[in-house]
């Protein structure tokens, strides 16, 4: 596969890791959308999934653990013309970054958030993540996880997120189409993607995901929030597809005073007439 978005280098992922599949899906989605590379910024936190931008030929901001969403919103505030995609793992997004996840949904910047959900901590060698199913034994949760896993889709729908979907690395076309729709959707888009961690999660394997998921059919109306919520509570089998869409939410960067008149000139291109400061100072006489 030769793609303009592909960056050829030594990739630090384990052989057979679901990250490879998702990388391919993302690259294909970007290709098909014919995005201008210079306008595209990937943002990530820390973890194996968060290394994704390292393996793409794009602008990227690879920041701190759990902190992908605030810089992503900051980038949109600085320049609303940039297309911003966040790639993150379940630990990074729902654990360390949980608070930002909640508030980014409230804030609703026009960004797409792709979460590599392998239900385990890979980088730190197999501890439970916020999405690890109950009962799974790990080097830390030696008697099995007893906490209720986070349901990212239910949480996002309950917060009236702008776009909520689930993909799976095993479903190439479906997931690619979801990601394409998420990127073109205006507002905060969550795409939670099931994938296998071949090294540390021996339960939720590629085969397990294949067996335990099904695609939503066309009869599902993604504007029906109650139905979407109901579907988000389903498991074994887990539905895949676009659960929910709300296209009527105000968008963070568009609500900022500087862009409210529709002028999307990025901040670095704007100059302020010093007379404005003088006139504000005059009020202090």
């Amino acid at each position: 596969m030769d793609s303009t978005f592909e960056y050829k280098t030594d990739i630090a992922w384990c052989q057979g890791c679901g990250n490879f599949g998702l990388r391919k899906i993302v690259i294909n989605a970007l290709e098909e959308l014919e995005i201008e590379k210079e306008k595209l910024v990937f943002v990530s936190g820390i973890g194996q999934a968060a290394k994704s931008p390292q393996y793409l030929d794009v602008n990227y901001f690879n920041g701190l653990h759990g902190r992908a969403l605030p810089p992503a919103a900051g980038i949109k505030a600085a320049n609303p013309n940039l297309i911003v995609v966040v790639e993150s793992g379940d630990g990074d997004m729902y654990g360390e970054g949980g608070n930002h996840f909640i508030h980014a949904i409230r804030r609703n910047p026009d960004i797409t958030v792709i979460v590599h959900n392998n239900m385990v901590y890979g980088l730190t060698k197999g501890q439970a993540s916020p999405t690890t199913p109950k009962g799974m034994k790990t080097p830390v949760q030696t008697s099995g996880v007893f906490e209720e896993p986070i349901n990212p889709l239910a949480m996002a729908i309950s917060l009236d997120a702008s776009f909520v979907a689930r993909g799976s690395v095993g479903e190439f076309k479906l997931t690619k189409d979801i990601i394409k729709k998420a990127i073109t959707h205006r507002g905060f888009s969550l795409v939670d993607v099931f994938q296998a961690c071949v090294t540390f999660n021996k339960i939720n394997t590629h085969a397990w995901f294949k067996k335990n998921t099904y695609s939503l059919d066309d009869s599902h109306d993604p504007t029906d929030r109650n139905k979407a919520f109901e579907l988000s509570l389903q498991s074994s089998p887990w539905p895949l597809g676009i659960f929910y869409k709300n296209e009527h939410k105000p968008i963070f960067e568009e609500e900022l005073a500087v862009y409210r008149n529709g002028d999307k000139t990025p901040l670095y291109k704007r100059t302020r007439d010093p007379k404005i400061i003088d006139s504000l100072l005059q009020q202090k006489i």
């Binding site: 901001f61 605030p70 500087v258």
Partner: protein, 580 residues
């Protein structure tokens, strides 16, 4: 810059050991919700418009209603810019206020109080509430007391009523007229009082009114940031830094500022770094507890070599400390926040003019050197205001240091001086990549320990040289042939200057540091010239003095420290210097 003490205009007398500072000092105290801030605003504005120099500072309790809040207003013929203990006129609005503030009363203080509200010795009874009721509403009691002060000080009635009209115009004619009536009654009472009771301070002279500005520390930081090209502001509310955030929000439309209240301070600093990455110039405003949360983001700024400007308004810690009080206690926090080694710049304005200039300059420095820049103020500093001459905004240069990228652009290109041209995404044909992991010139993660990883470490360290070389020099105030040298930073500036003016200051100079880190190379020599070095700091361990010794090798002979949550008064510093 020394403000020489002029015997001829010295106002009345005091029981204090040190000569009384300039002008007269008025203290108003009441519970939160009593409208102390409104009286303060009326008085300060009206007195200034009438040709007096004015100064105001407040202290308040951490609560929404009740407690005791007080404000001190100094009025003088000469510029006054610091807090004094001695009180000439005291208006307590309730018993608790009287009890809390009485320690600063002199035998000569005129205590004006409503005898039906509180019991206190030697007060002059003024039934503020009764007079207010007669004007239409007991709630106008504030305005009555403002009127009384204006009557005592012979303030132009025209200016007083004009100001009241402007302030209350939004609330309708009834409120305007009622308040004017209340002010009139108060004014009459004040005038009569002056004739009937022997008030122990002299009349102070007015100057010709000028077009001077009344600017608080908060406003100076905000305006300075705007002048420095600040175009966005991210923050989480925390006293006493919130004012800058609120001011910025109030200017968002007219000055074109993207303002967002973020979920927490971790989000704040990361959002700011994202915005800097994409070419914006955000300001972050916070206090110690919030700053503590930003530590990881400051470290990130160091690694990704991002500019960052953080206004840190200090208050006492640890933890929640004294939320509404003052202290210069966070220098070490700003100095050491973040793990690993990377350059940073710490600025600390001493007065509002400096706050304006340094806040503007912070953006240029951050942008030019691609380092975090901290502006340290404190509660006393941000909440204090006084009249200053007009600020010349045309002198402020807002330089930008971003590069249009080419196809082969690498964000961390190795250069002679360690500074790589900073591109931003979408500007040019190149790609801008940045990474919190150790990386190569293109920001790709590396573990080539002895090769590129080491070169990157050296590159970041190399930047210290230029940052240090271009540090702002300390300012020497007073006698050039000094044997005694006072060192200070931040909000002690005006207090030390005024204290020096009322003591025997021969052979004494004040070395003020607008930049705390890195320290300018001239510091060593200037310190060595003195036979005695005295540090004046509003903290418990003389954090800056320790840093000075560490950086220059010169020991500090005497430390004048205060850390009870209140600022130094002029009298305190003068007395300590007299003893030292």
């Amino acid at each position: 810059m020394t403000d020489k003490h002029d015997e001829t205009t010295e106002t009345a007398s005091s029981g204090y050991q040190t000569p009384h500072p300039e002008g007269i000092s008025i203290v108003l105290a009441g519970g939160a919700g009593h409208g102390i801030q409104s009286i303060e605003a009326i008085l300060v504005n009206v007195l200034k418009k009438d040709g007096y120099h004015v100064f105001a500072t407040k202290e308040y309790m951490s609560r929404i209603r009740g407690g005791v809040n007080s404000t001190q207003i100094r009025v003088s013929e000469k510029p006054v810019r610091s807090y004094v203990e001695g009180t000439d006129i005291f208006i307590p609005l309730d018993q608790a206020s009287y009890e809390r503030c009485k320690k600063n009363l002199k035998s000569t203080t005129a205590v004006l109080a409503d005898a039906s509200k509180l019991q206190a010795p030697n007060t002059i009874d003024i039934p503020f509430e009764k007079v207010a009721s007669e004007s239409g509403n007991p709630l106008f009691a504030n305005t009555v007391s403002a009127g009384v002060i204006c009557g005592i000080l012979d303030v132009s009635q025209e200016i007083l009523y004009e100001y009241i009209t402007t302030v209350f115009s939004k609330k309708g004619d009834d409120v305007v007229n009622g308040n004017i009536k209340a002010a009139q009654s108060g004014y009459l009472t004040g005038s009569q009082l002056k004739q009937s009771v022997r008030l122990t301070f002299n009349t102070i002279k007015k100057n010709k009114p000028t077009q001077s500005l009344l600017l608080s520390g908060t406003e100076a930081v905000t305006f300075g940031a705007l002048a420095g090209g600040c175009d966005s502001c991210f923050a989480y509310p925390m006293t006493p830094s919130t004012g800058v955030f609120t001011q910025m929000a109030s200017f968002a439309e007219r000055a074109g500022v993207a303002v967002e209240q973020v979920e927490d301070e971790i989000g704040v600093v990361n959002m700011a770094l994202g915005a800097w990455y994409a070419g914006a110039r955000p300001l972050v405003s916070t206090s110690g507890g919030g700053f503590a949360l930003m530590t990881e983001g400051i470290s990130l700024a160091g690694m990704i070599e991002s500019p960052l400007v953080i206004h840190l308004a200090q208050r006492p810690g640890p933890a929640t400390g004294l939320p509404t009080r003052t202290e210069q206690g966070d220098l070490n926090l700003a100095l050491y926040a973040g793990h690993g080694v990377f350059p940073r710049i710490i600025l600390a304005p001493g007065d509002t003019e400096q706050a304006f200039e340094l806040s503007a300059q912070a953006f240029t420095l951050a942008d030019q050197y691609q380092v975090p820049v901290f502006i340290l103020t404190d509660q006393y500093f941000v909440d204090t205001y006084y009249d200053i001459p007009q600020i010349r905004t045309e002198n402020i240069k807002t330089e930008r240091f971003i590069t249009e990228t080419t196809k082969d652009y690498k964000r961390y290109t190795l250069t002679e001086d360690g500074f790589s041209p900073r591109g931003i995404p979408g500007f040019g044909s190149g790609l801008v990549c940045t990474d919190s992991d150790e990386h190569d010139q293109s920001a790709r993660i590396t573990e080539e320990l002895d090769d590129i990883a080491l070169e990157m470490k050296n590159k970041r360290y190399k930047k210290f040289d230029s940052v240090k070389e271009n540090a702002l020099p300390p300012v020497l105030i007073g006698e050039e042939n000094y044997s005694r040298l006072i060192v200070g930073w931040g909000s002690v500036y005006n207090t030390v200057i005024e204290a020096m003016s009322i003591i025997d200051n021969s052979q004494t100079a004040f070395l003020f540091f607008p930049q705390l880190y890195p320290i300018h190379h001239s510091a060593s020599e200037l310190l060595q010239k003195a036979s005695t070095v005295i540090a004046v700091e509003n903290n418990q361990t003389a954090q800056f003095a320790q840093l000075l010794t560490k950086e220059t090798g010169v020991g500090i002979d005497c430390k004048i420290l205060k850390y009870n949550g209140m600022p130094f008064s002029v009298e305190e510093v003068a007395e300590a210097l007299n003893q030292g």
